[in-house]
Every structure is written in C-alpha cells, then in structure tokens.
C-alpha cells in the first residue's frame, strides 16, 4: 500500500470512545487508564531488584502487601490490550512503521529528548493528580468527579500556557 488510509471521523471516534468508557464503567465500576499500569510495572521492577526497599516504600509498598503481584492488575492487561489494538488498527490502515515523527525544523535527537522529558513530567504529574488524561481527566470527568475536571482544566490550560515556549518543536 503506497498511501495509508485516512483516520476515522473525530466525532465518530469520540462516540465510540464514550461508549467503550460507559461499558467499562458498567462492567468494572471504574473507567479507562494508562499511567496506573506503568506504576504497577515500576512497583514490580523495584520489587524484583530490591524487595526490602520496595516493601518499605510508603508509595508503592501498598501494591506489594501480602505478597501481591502488582503485574496481576486490571490496568496492566488493559494496557497490553492498547498495544494490541493499536497494532491491529495501524496494520489495517497501513500505518505500521518504525519511525520518529518530528517537525522538519528539529532533529531526531531533539525530538527523542523532548519526548522523553515530556514522559518524565507526565509520570510525576500523573502520580500527584492520581491519574493521567485517561484515568483522571476523561474517566473522572465522565463520572462527574470534581478532581477529574480540575485535572483536565489544568492539563490543557498548562499545555496552552507553555505552547508558545515550545512552538519551535512543532510548527
């Protein structure tokens, strides 16, 4: 395939995502997530490398009480599903490709560096706010949680606030 198929309509995507979220609430009693699964894998890694240190941790120690295995979690399986689902969609649309996507004005190195730093900040912020864009902003807001709305407003507000400083990375 020389030309990849285009994306689906944004509003259709939104309705499908909303229905999926509703079904998740109905079945599981809580919404979608992403950063929580990474937290579980951090807990599992630290537990593997330094079990005493992990159990003493006031943060991830809670995930390890009574010999619990943090990787046996709903979110970890959901995130494995995200990778599989995205792969299927990308394969059907001809978008599977090893690639670093970046503005022509910046180098691949710059892009990778900022992508990594953005990830670090998202990691810290998502722990403070008890969820990321999926778990706090999307799922929390849909369930009418005040914290979800505040987190959503702060994420998008802050990105707009800093957009001017990082415009060279994108436009």
């Amino acid at each position: 395939m020389d030309k990849s198929k285009s994306y689906i309509n944004s509003y259709l995507g939104g309705v499908l995502l909303g229905l999926l979220l509703l079904a998740t609430f109905y079945i599981n009693g809580r919404g979608l997530g992403a950063s929580g699964a990474i937290k579980d894998s951090v807990a599992a890694t630290v537990n593997q490398l330094a079990p005493e240190h992990a159990k003493e941790s006031k943060y991830i120690g809670k995930l390890l009480s009574d010999g619990e295995k943090p990787l046996n979690s709903w979110l970890v399986f959901e995130v494995l599903g995200i990778l599989a689902g995205s792969f299927i969609s990308g394969a059907l649309a001809g978008r599977l490709k090893w690639k670093t996507e970046h503005s022509p004005k910046i180098s691949i190195r710059t892009r990778i560096l900022f992508a990594g730093m953005g990830g670090v900040l998202f990691g810290i912020g998502s722990q403070l706010a008890r969820g990321c864009t999926s778990g706090a902003a999307l799922s929390g807001s849909a369930a009418l949680g005040l914290s979800g709305f505040i987190t959503m407003l702060c994420i998008f507000g802050s990105a707009y606030m800093f957009a001017w400083f990082f415009r060279k990375l994108w436009i």
Binding site: G31, K58, E78, A93, G125, Q127, G157
Partner: protein, 196 residues
C-alpha cells in the same frame, strides 16, 4: 445491576480477559482517530488540528450522559462508580506538570502507548520517560508527600459543588462542548495549515 465485577455478577477470573479486550478497543479507537501521531495531537495547542478536543469532549459527554441514563433506568449504581478523590493542590499541581509534559512530549500516557503499538520511536522514548517519572515520584515520595495529601476533600462530585443536579450539569457541559466544536472549526479555517 451494574457495575458487574464489583458486585460479583461476573467472576474475577474473567476480569483480565475483559481488561485486555477493553484495552484493545481503546487502542483501536485511539489509533484510528489519529492519536498515534504527536504532531496531530499538539495541533490542538497551535490551532491547526482540533481532533483531540473533538474526540475527548464527545467521549466525555457520551459516557457522562450514558452513565446518568443507566443510573436513571436502574441499570447501574452510580455510587459504586469510582473516580479519583479530590486532593485540591495535588490535582492542580499534577495537572500543570502534566500539561508541560504534554507540550514537550506530544503524547499523554494513553496516546504514547498507542503510538508505540504502531512503531513510533519517539513514543517509545515517551513511555520510557513516563516509567522513569513514576519511579522518581515513588523514590522521592517523601518530598511529594505533603503536597500529595494536602487539602483532602474526599469524593466530591462537580455538580454537588456547583449546587445543581447532575442532569443539568451534563446539559451545560454538552452545550459547552458544542460551542467549542463550532468555535474551533472557525479557528482552524483561519490558522495556517501545518503539513505533517
């Protein structure tokens, strides 16, 4: 009736199968909407592509109204539906840090994972960073603890704080979303397109 798993209507053994299938749909919807591309996502912040706003607002409104409808029909017990508890300063500061991470990295955790699924190497760097960030938070928890636990306000609902019914709030929120769709469509026509 619902939610099913917390009430034992579906056995625990099924929960991981359901989790994987849920995630697969999540990944497919994100990818087919265009969220495996960081340059498409950040279009929201420079006015050249508002896909994120459309998908995000439509999904929130759909799920919110659906939940209220299910609750009204007695199909789900809304009091058993989880949302993160309100810790005011942690939610604000966490959100601000995430926003900065968003404009630098171009992905949030869900979209980053979605982009890893089709082979984006910048997304791999983003997810590695995410992992490191959570590790840093965990190791530095003593430093964050005070902020993390301050202003605990419990499970507050947005409509209760505003003193209106959940139905009226959903109506107002949907109206804001519709207004945003119209305004951003108008803006997008006037912003210089970016080729990506």
């Amino acid at each position: 009736m619902g939610p099913l798993i917390p009430q034992g209507i579906i056995g625990e053994g099924w929960s991981y199968v359901i989790a994987f299938i849920t995630g697969a749909f999540f990944g497919m919807i994100l990818e087919s909407s265009g969220f495996s591309s960081s340059r498409k996502i950040v279009g929201l912040f420079y006015g050249y592509d508002f896909t994120v706003l459309r998908v995000f607002f439509t999904a929130t409104v759909t799920a919110m109204i659906g939940l209220l409808y299910f609750n009204y029909m007695g199909w789900i017990d809304l009091s058993m539906v989880y949302f993160p508890p309100m810790y005011l300063w942690a939610a604000i500061s966490g959100g601000l840090i995430m926003g900065l991470g968003f404009i630098m990295g171009g992905f949030c955790p869900g979209t980053g994972l979605c982009a890893v699924g089709i082979g984006k190497l910048d997304a791999v760097a983003n997810v590695v960073g995410l992992y490191l960030g959570i590790f840093l938070f965990s190791e530095g928890y003593a430093f964050f603890e005070k902020l993390y636990l301050s202003n605990a306000l419990g499970d507050l609902r947005v409509n209760e704080v505003l003193g209106i019914s959940s139905g009226l709030f959903a109506f107002l929120f949907a109206s804001i979303a519709l207004t945003a769709f119209i305004i951003t469509a108008w803006i997008q026509k006037r912003v210089k397109p970016v080729d990506y």
